[in-house]
Amino acid sequence: MAELLRHEKGQAGDLAGPGRLADGVPDRPLDRARDGLRAYRMIAAMWIRSTMAYRASFAMTAFGNLAATALDFVAILLMFSQVDALGGYRLPEVAFLYGASSTAFGLADLAIGSMDRLGRRVRDGTLDTLLVRPAPVLAQVAADRFALRRLGRVTQGLLILGFALLALDVTWTPLKVLLIPLMLVSGAAIFMSVFIAGAAFQFLAQDASEVQNAFTYGGNTLLQYPPSVFGKDLVRGATFLVPIAFVNWLPGLYVLGRPYPLDLPSWAAFTPPLVAVACCALAGLAWRAGLRSYRSTGS
């Protein structure tokens, strides 16, 4: 059985894809990406249809998701009921950083947030089912249990970002306006790469799914506060080691006209798309390595 699975896995991972099986198109990375996206779309649509069978339940859980994720901001509001500034930043500025990070994280969580269930699939052997299907495993795992209720977090982030943009006292330039959508999209991609790398790690340590919470939820919490609050080493780690600082700190501080605590050139504010691409490539490699090292439980 294990032999068979290794064989099948080789096929699913290296050669096959719906396109390949259907029309014999040579297997190029672009085709694989297209196949993956198609599989992702189909599986996600299936989960959305199944969610929408219970509309009232969906509305309640989406609202619950919004309320639960808003608790962080309630904590910030409670802090600002006692003080006027935190680390030298006033409420609209903190709200801007919060909204940007929350929206980016919410988008990543919506897209592939169920990937932290991978360890469970490895443990109970249900990952094998995904390996024998003619679609990229990454797309299947990413779309697994696609939870539309996670729009709650995105909505909450956008609301607070909107509030911040209204309350901020910033002289807007075209560059700053452009930077905002760029920041949200790149930030979502950076967080997605963290999710994928975390899932790849679960091939090695199946029970350690909580480790990735430290980087996903923990990273999101970190980015909700201005970098001046944190120690230099922590800021360095978040900039160079796990580069989540590029989600909202670097572009956000450029918009706010604030200096970054580390000595970085001001054009670093425009690098998030490049960082996002590099992170996704590294996460993709980690995923491949993880998938190759996978051995079925055999049961």
Binding site: G64, M79, Q82, Q206, D207, A208, T221, V229, G231
Partner: protein, 273 residues
């Protein structure tokens, strides 16, 4: 008397079994310790910024505020602020009808699950509480109590916190008798306990009437009260009054659980029968 000791041995065995069950997942425990520590570091810096801005906020100096952060991380899973203890399992048993077997056992349903939850809490306090706390004490200036008595007093407060937390989650689990899917109730319970336990921010820092209300609600027995006992804020008669507050809520909520259980079992229809 004989029956009494037999009962006690049964529940002690359930608690010990639950302790061992949670101790089995070593990698998950290490992962949890790591995550608690990372969150502890992040929160520590935000608290430093807050207490730099307003020293003495909520009656804490900075060292006490930081101790509060690490206590919160240590108690997060111990008192199951975000759930994740027995209630998911009990709800699943109610949904599938397996609860009928539990009711058939010669043991009390509530006491059975309470014993299991105490065993879980003991393991998580030792494994997931001690290590992040030690890390925090090494890296930051904390206000750890110097005398053994305060540690013991705090341990009792944590135990009472676990019982209050259990009693609340037992009520949540029983809602499955009527709703079958308890996800919504769980989520509301999770929200309330995260907000009102003091996990988000010490309840002393909450402004005005909100603070007063939050401190009177049962959830404050989970984190705020044990933390204040640990920080030596309650001494002498005040300490007894604090225990009475926790024990009072525990008694009220456990009784409510028993009443609800009586109503539920009278109307239970085992599915698939």
């Amino acid at each position: 008397m004989f029956v009494g000791t037999g009962r006690f041995r049964l529940y002690a065995a359930v608690a010990a079994g639950s302790f061992r069950r949670f101790a089995t997942y070593r990698i998950a425990t290490v992962a949890g310790v790591f995550t608690n520590t990372v969150f502890g570091v992040i929160l520590t810096y935000t608290y430093i910024a807050l207490w730099d801005e307003k020293p003495g906020l909520g009656g804490y100096d900075q060292a006490q505020a930081l101790t509060y952060v690490w206590l919160g991380q240590a108690l997060l899973t111990t008192v199951a602020v975000m759930g994740g203890g027995f209630e998911d399992e009990l709800m699943a048993r109610i949904r599938t009808g397996d609860v009928a077997i539990d009711l058939y056992r010669p043991a009390d349903l509530q006491a059975w699950w309470l014993a299991g939850d105490v065993g879980r809490a003991a393991f998580q306090c030792l494994a997931r509480g001690a290590v992040p706390m030690a890390f925090g004490a090494l890296c930051f200036q904390l206000a750890l109590p110097g005398d053994v008595l305060t540690w013991l007093a705090a341990t009792l407060a944590v135990l009472l916190g676990v019982v209050v937390s259990f009693a609340l989650r037992f009520l949540v689990a029983l809602s499955a008798f009527w709703l079958l899917d308890g996800a919504g109730v769980s989520q509301v319970a999770w929200l309330a306990s995260t907000f009102f336990s003091g996990m988000l921010l010490p309840l002393n820092v909450f402004p005005g009437a909100l603070g007063e209300i939050a401190r009177a609600l049962p959830w404050s027995a989970l984190i705020q009260v044990p933390a204040d006992v640990f920080l030596g804020k309650h001494q002498g008669m005040d300490l007894l009054a604090t225990y009475a507050f926790q024990a009072g809520w525990a008694a009220v909520l456990l009784t409510a659980g028993r009443l609800l259980q009586a109503v539920a079992t009278r109307r239970v229809v085992v599915q698939g029968g």
